[in-house]
Every structure is written in C-alpha cells, then in structure tokens.
C-alpha cells in the first residue's frame, strides 16, 4: 500500500452546468475506472486539495462525502482519505440511466461534426480497443 498521497489531475471549469463538487467526484470516479487510481491510494486532504484547485474547502468536503457515501473512498482517522474496494454502487437501471446522457452528448456532438453512422461505430470500437489495451496490467480492485 502506498503511503504518500497521489497527485490528482483534476480540472475545474467554472461557468459549467456541472457544479464543482460534481466535477470533482466525476473525475475521481473516472480516474479509478481507468486505473489511474487504485485501491489503497491516498487522496489529498480536503485542505490541500482546496488550495490546489482554488475552491472552497466545503466544496471538497461535499465531494468527499458523496464519494464516501458511494463507497469509493474511506476516511481513516488520523491517517487520511483512501480509495477503498470499489463496490458496485449503482443498480443496473441506475447505471444505464447515467450512461444515456453521456452517449447522447457524444453522439450529438459527433453528428454536428458530420460523422456518418458507420464512421462513428468504427471510431467507438477503436476507442474501446485503446482503453482495453491501456488498462491491461493495471491493478484492478484488490
């Protein structure tokens, strides 16, 4: 288990329809899903991350509270915040519900760029392949 905190690569965009706490939770979920963060990794403290991202500490606390509730992270007294075993927290219906807008956004933008049905399908397959290759060898949960 690594004892030093990992560097989180989080970008905050103000003026977005997505609240800042949600931008943070989304990016941490993504980092775990893509293998950039693994179980046992320590996250920066609320204070440190607030100063790094230049956002109100309460916003970070809100994000961490959501991630704790969803079972992705755990706060250990006196030691810090860690990525813990990633449970399946969403029901299949909920997971589908969350997937839909993501697909809509991607397809909508792509159509505006004049990609054809087949081109999109091909691009999607190719991307999936790249992700699969990138995640190979990365420690999965546990």
């Amino acid at each position: 288990m690594c004892s030093s905190t990992v560097k989180l690569d989080i970008t905050i965009s103000t003026g977005s329809k997505v609240p800042i706490y949600k931008q943070i939770t989304d990016q941490i979920w993504l980092a775990v899903a893509s293998g950039k963060l693994a179980v046992g990794d320590q996250l920066p403290s609320v204070r440190v991350l607030a100063e790094e991202l230049v956002v109100n500490p309460n916003t970070i606390a809100h994000a961490y509270a959501d991630l704790t509730r969803d079972g992705l992270i755990e706060s250990r007294a006196g030691r810090g915040v860690f990525i813990v075993h990633k449970r399946q927290v969403f029901t299949p219906e909920e997971a589908w519900r969350r997937l839909e807008p993501l697909l809509d956004a991607a397809i909508g933008e792509a159509m505006a760029l004049n990609f054809s049905h087949d081109e999109l399908k091909e691009a999607f397959e190719k991307k999936l392949g790249q992700w699969k290759a990138a995640m190979k060898g990365k420690p999965s949960d546990e």
């Binding site: 905050i12 103000t14 003026g15 609240p19 800042i20 100063e51 230049v54 956002v55 109100n56």
Partner: protein, 315 residues
C-alpha cells in the same frame, strides 16, 4: 455553533433623499463562511457594506458586526475587521516594506509573516515604491496590509474589479488561504460569478435595494431550473405556472425558466401533454441572469440556515 453571526442586520434601510438605496435588509452571515454579496450595479451592495462599517448611517434598522453595534463601532472592533477597498490610503513615495511598517504601527496584532507571504504571492519586491506599482500589484499590497493584522472578518467590496486574470486568481487563492484558520469570515461583493462559484459557500442577491436570495450557493443554483417541453404541433398556450421567470416559445418547443420548480409546476406542465419534458441544468451565471432579468414575476429564495433563524421578508 451558538456563536452570534459575524454580521447580522435587521430591517437595515438607507434612503438618499427620497430614493431607497437599501430597503429593509435582513441578513445573517455565519462565522466561518465565505459569503458572496451579489447584485447588479446600483442594487445597494456598496451602501450596505458602508453601513456595516459605520461609514454611512442607516436611515432605519439595526445591525451588528462581530457582536458590536454598527452605529458605534469601537476601535477594538475595527482592529478585528479587515476592509479592503480600492481607495486604500497609500503614499506613493513609500516602498512596499515601508507601507507594511507604517500600517503595522496602527495594529496591536500584526503578522509580518502574512504580510511578506501575501506580497510575495503577488511577486512584489519590498523595495519597489508604491507609485511604480501596477494596478494588480497595488491590489496585492493592499491585501497584504489588510490581512497582516489577522482580521476575524474580512470585508471586500468588489475585490477583483479591474484586476487581470493572474492577479485576480492570486487574490482568490489568498481568500482560500485565509479560511485555513477556522472561524474566519469573508464577506465580499462581486460581479465575477466564476470567482464566486469557486470560493463562496453562501450567497445573497440584492435586487433594486431588496434582498431576494440568501442561501447556500448550491441551493440557489438548484432552485432555478430550465424545463424544455417538446410538442408534435405548435405549443399550446401556457397556463399560470408558479415561479415562472421566463418563457421562450419556438416552433414545437416551449422553454421555461422557473424558480422553485416542484411537483405542482411539473403537474401543470404535464397537463399540456408534451411529447417530451426535460429538465435542463443551468450554470450559475445563467441562473443569475434569468433570476434578475426583467421578465417574470418576483420571487424569493430565502433559505433558512442551520440555525433555524427567521429570515422573513416575503413580498
């Protein structure tokens, strides 16, 4: 928790001649909060701030700041309050270090480390004369002078006005830094909603002298909702929808912006039998603009804070 709020005003009112600048303001700023005070130009923000600091006498109403009556702020109260303005009295012939020395002589408590830290953060050299500083550098110096006495309450009137993005970010960073010590309160007015979104946990919105919003930032954002209804034919006429701010009608579509959109409003819209009804999230800026736009009826978002204090002032 039971500490009195950093700022508390009741029915605070100020007229200039027959014209109200601030009308019946009720506001509590909890200790430890970063509180953004918003509103369009001329809505009464600066007059409010000047009343809080005893620089303008209220026509009516009362207020306290760190527990002291604002009509009669003693010197020891002023030492615990930092006020950042543009018109900070600076002598052009002094250099940065001398400004610090001069200012420190007025304060029993002066933290030179903070002063050096802030001016360093703005990349100021201690030997540069004030008259040779750029606007952003001047702002950095003023901030250092304001923060070094370690005020329990920092009040800023539009602090990032006229600053370039880098200086403005440095200022915001200093605000976050200040919250390191617990119980420090920041009350600031601003038009920069991007900054507000980053640093504020609570907001209040003044509109033409009247307080219309006082709530956590997220509550405000969620209270203002956009709803899109699609119809197969031309959209039917719109019934009365509670909290409607704005309605845009296009071919086959109705786009509504509502405040406190709830089950009642949704039921009224469903009754129009749209082919599709979709809620669209808004950014803070869009919510703010829709809310203060001229169309639509007046509405209020005055959420109760943790302490179930009575913030009355319904229309």
């Amino acid at each position: 928790m039971n500490e009195p709020p950093a700022i508390s005003v009741r029915d605070l009112t100020r007229y200039f001649g027959s014209k109200p600048a601030v009308e019946g303001l009720n506001l509590d700023v909890p200790r430890g909060s970063v509180f953004a005070f918003l509103g369009r130009n001329g809505s009464g923000k600066t007059t409010t701030i000047r009343m809080l600091l005893g620089l303008v006498q209220p026509t009516r109403g009362r207020g306290s700041i760190l527990g002291y009556d604002i009509r009669n702020l003693p010197t020891e109260a002023r030492a615990r309050i930092g006020y950042l303005t543009e018109e900070h009295q600076l002598y052009g012939w002094m250099n940065v270090r001398e400004c610090g020395e001069f200012q420190s002589s007025f304060y029993p408590r002066w933290n030179e480390k903070i002063f050096r830290g802030v001016v360093g953060h703005f990349n100021l050299r201690l030997t540069t004369r004030v008259k040779h500083l750029s606007r952003g550098e001047r702002a950095g110096l003023c901030l250092g002078l304001t923060l070094a006495p370690e005020p329990e309450l920092l009040i800023m009137d539009d602090p990032t006005l006229g600053l370039d993005p880098v200086a403005s970010r440095s200022l915001i960073e200093s605000m976050i830094y200040l919250t390191r010590r617990s119980g420090r309160t920041i009350f600031f007015s601003s038009h920069q909603l991007a900054d507000v979104e980053r640093v504020a946990d609570k907001i209040a919105i003044l509109d033409r002298s009247v307080l219309r919003v006082c709530s956590p930032l997220e509550t405000f954002r969620q209270s203002v909702q956009r709803v899109r209804l699609r119809f197969s034919g031309p959209p039917p006429p719109l019934p009365a929808i509670p909290g409607l701010l704005q309605a845009v009608r296009t071919k086959g579509e109705l786009r509504l912006t509502c405040v406190n959109y709830g089950a009642a409003a949704e039921a009224a819209l469903r009754a129009l039998a749209p082919a599709e009804l979709e809620r669209v999230p808004l950014s803070l800026e869009e919510a703010f603009i829709s809310y203060l736009g001229d169309r639509g009826e007046k509405s209020f978002i005055l959420a109760e804070t943790e302490s179930e204090s009575e913030t009355e002032a319904q229309p």
